[in-house]
């Protein structure tokens, strides 16, 4: 099998698997892939994907389900503070990270700017 065939198969798998997720989950994964290897808290993530401070809904529902599917890593730092990052050991997520890091420099800069401005406001 040619390398290009293998890549296109993986890209197809990623596309199909990604399509099965809701818009919110897709936004989260795209965001985390762009800012990789940086980890973010729930409130930072909700600000990055354009959700107004309703991080609580992310904590309990969507993030837990993404964690169950082993696509993100959710580390509990305190009772209310989580460290969220994409699971780079997952083959499809590794591919997503590679694609995002290679082609999404502009978006990555925007995400990081938002992250820094958020930190300064805090």
């Amino acid at each position: 099998m040619l390398m290009t065939d293998l890549d296109s198969k993986m890209v197809y798998d990623l596309l199909i698997a990604f399509s099965s997720y809701t818009e919110l989950k897709r936004k989260i994964l795209v965001c985390l892939a762009h800012i990789y290897p940086q980890a973010v808290s729930g409130s930072q993530l909700s600000a990055l994907i354009g959700y107004s401070g309703q991080a609580r809904t992310l904590y309990r529902g969507v993030l837990d389900r993404l964690k169950d599917d082993t696509v993100i890593l959710l580390d509990k730092l305190t009772s209310k503070l989580y460290s969220i990052r994409i699971n780079h050991d997952h083959p499809l997520m590794r591919l997503l990270i590679e694609i995002s890091q290679e082609n999404g420099l502009e978006l990555k800069t925007k995400y990081l700017t938002l992250l820094q401005s958020g930190e300064m406001n805090e």
Binding site: A17, S20, Y21, G61, D68, T70, P91
Partner: protein, 194 residues
């Protein structure tokens, strides 16, 4: 979708109301039974009601009726959800079988199936209508755990090595595509094992 979510939440609260009603009726029955047995006059209402109507018969009939209603609500999948799920699977040529507690079993072939458990409402996450999907027990997983994990990763499923199952939890709008992914994952693993 929002309408279906509202239906699910409404059904959840109806079931909870029925469960509490059965429990309350059972408690009342026990209290009256004990007070009659010990000939206690402390609860005056016992005497009034006991003399006026066939109280025990009425109470037992009520428990039976409300209990039956609860059982039926536990058994059936709300019609709106059923209309969104079952025709889809049957259109794909799958056979569906309903079991207790809102579990729908979908047979891809007579010997390959997966289950969808419908949670009408989850208080912990405050979400309406979540679906927990799990494959049948794939008995030869231990012979090839590497492939099992690879296929799970390919379809964004959780590989449950201990229970030898693929699992995933998803929302209402994800259930159709994710059940197709689960089907593909099961078929691929079965094909490799053969």
């Amino acid at each position: 979708m929002n309408n279906l979510q509202n239906v699910a939440k409404q059904e959840y609260f109806i079931i909870k109301f029925l469960e509490i009603s059965v429990l309350c009726l059972a408690i009342i029955l026990v209290i009256f039974f004990l007070s009659t047995m010990f000939k206690s006059d402390s609860i005056q209402i016992t005497i009034i009601l006991y003399d006026s109507i066939p109280f025990y018969g009425f109470l037992i009939a009520s428990i039976g009726f409300v209990g039956g209603l609860t059982y039926w609500r536990w058994y059936r999948i709300p019609p709106a959800l059923q209309n969104a799920l079952i025709p889809y699977f049957e259109g794909l040529g799958f056979i569906t079988k309903q079991t207790l507690f809102h579990i729908l079993r979908v047979y891809i072939t007579p010997d390959i199936y997966f289950q969808i458990k419908i949670s009408l409402h989850k208080f912990t996450s405050n979400e309406d209508c979540l679906f927990y999907m799990e494959s049948m027990r794939l008995l030869t997983v231990f012979q090839n755990p590497g492939e099992f994990k690879r296929i799970a990763a390919q379809y964004l499923l959780c590989p449950d090595l201990v229970r030898q199952k693929f699992t995933t939890t998803c929302e209402l709008e994800e259930v159709h595509l994710r059940s197709l992914l689960l089907t593909s994952a099961i078929k691929e693993l079965v094909r490799i094992q053969k």
